[in-house]
Symmetry: C2
Subunit: 219 residues, 2 copies
């Protein structure tokens, strides 16, 4: 019985890792599509999101069955409940990558990123891709240093989000409403992406250390 349980917990973990790799690919490709006006790549991100939705459903069903059949307690139970939360965050991160790809597709063949904001968007693209890679690493290794790096990437994303909004409100800004909208929404998508990465990170830290670590760390 215990062996089956251990194998099933391991499959649950593998599913979450698989989801995190899909999220990493999605955000990397969405950003590249956005910065290089690559509509095929944008389409592929949009099409790939269904796979993440399916995996989320698989994880949810697996969690319900594991609880019902194995009646876990203690850390095992908390791990399963945390997995439900993590799958929801990963699914939402995929949605946000999809929204970024949709911005790229809508603007095509133009760029959705004006030259004035290219540096900020490149910074958000890099920080979010790194955060996604670290989320995958954290799910595999449960290394707390990785968790700390995710929080630091999120700080970068928050700073760039603030800079993006400030630049839209600067006296010398003269973009049209479409550009303002594009930048405002893109900055928000990247910023929310970082929030969800931190959410995943805090749940793992809690499982490893038992420490909630403040706001947003609830299992």
């Amino acid at each position: 019985m215990r062996t089956i349980f251990t194998a099933e917990m391991s499959e649950l973990r593998d599913d979450l890792i698989a989801m995190s790799h899909l999220v990493h690919t999605a955000i990397a490709n969405a950003s590249e599509a956005l910065l290089t006006e690559n509509i095929e790549l944008a389409q592929s991100v949009i099409a790939a999101d269904a796979k993440l939705d399916d995996l989320e459903e698989t994880v949810d069903e697996r969690c319900v069955l594991l609880i019902a059949q194995q009646q876990p307690v203690g850390l095992d139970l908390r791990t399963i409940i945390a997995s439900l939360r993590i799958s929801a965050s990963l699914e939402r991160m995929g949605d946000l990558a999809q929204h970024i790809a949709e911005s790229a597709r809508r603007a095509y063949p133009e760029s959705a990123v004006p030259a004035t904001h290219r540096e900020i968007v490149e910074g958000m693209a890099a920080a979010s891709k790194q955060a996604a890679a670290e989320v995958a690493e954290l799910l595999e290794t449960r290394d707390l240093n990785t968790a700390a790096r995710i929080v630091s990437d999120d700080d970068t994303l928050d700073d760039l989000h603030t800079r993006a909004y400030a630049s839209l409100l600067a006296d010398d800004y003269d973009g049209d409403a479409q550009t303002t909208l594009d930048i405002a929404l893109m900055a928000r998508y990247y910023e929310r992406f970082g929030d969800h990465a931190v959410g995943v990170s805090r749940r793992i830290v809690y499982l490893v250390t038992g420490d909630h670590g403040g706001e947003g760390a609830k299992i």
Copy 2:
């Protein structure tokens, strides 16, 4: 044993209903603060959000304990897992109401809503308040007609969101970047609020009928 379990399931349900009433108050007050430049009301929405966060934590802990101590199966287990998801949605709806209150506070003593967009924002305020009231009603009654009305409110919010964005991109629009940002973000907050209301509604429909009802209906 069964009696204790029934009592605890009933408390879980009461907590969710309490959360839904707080969400209803938050969105109603945030919209009123926004439309009447009432900064005290805006502050009260922002301050009250901590109570929702606490209740979410209570619900989560209650769910984990219920599963660990009572080892529920079947519909009981699915209800508990759905409750975890519903508490997360309600907490997020509270955050969105808080963001709307923050927009009102930032613009004070001016209005964050320009005259050109007042009608749209009033429409979103009304539909989101109604959706919140119906979510509370649905959690109490589990009446499927209420679930259908929530979906219809969300359609209204989606339409108004589309109208808000279209109006920002119309040839005769001449608002400044701050106004464009305010309207774009507010429209998005209300639209996401509606999405979460539908999310709650679908989870309840699934518990009552066993029918997923398509995308987003996963427990």
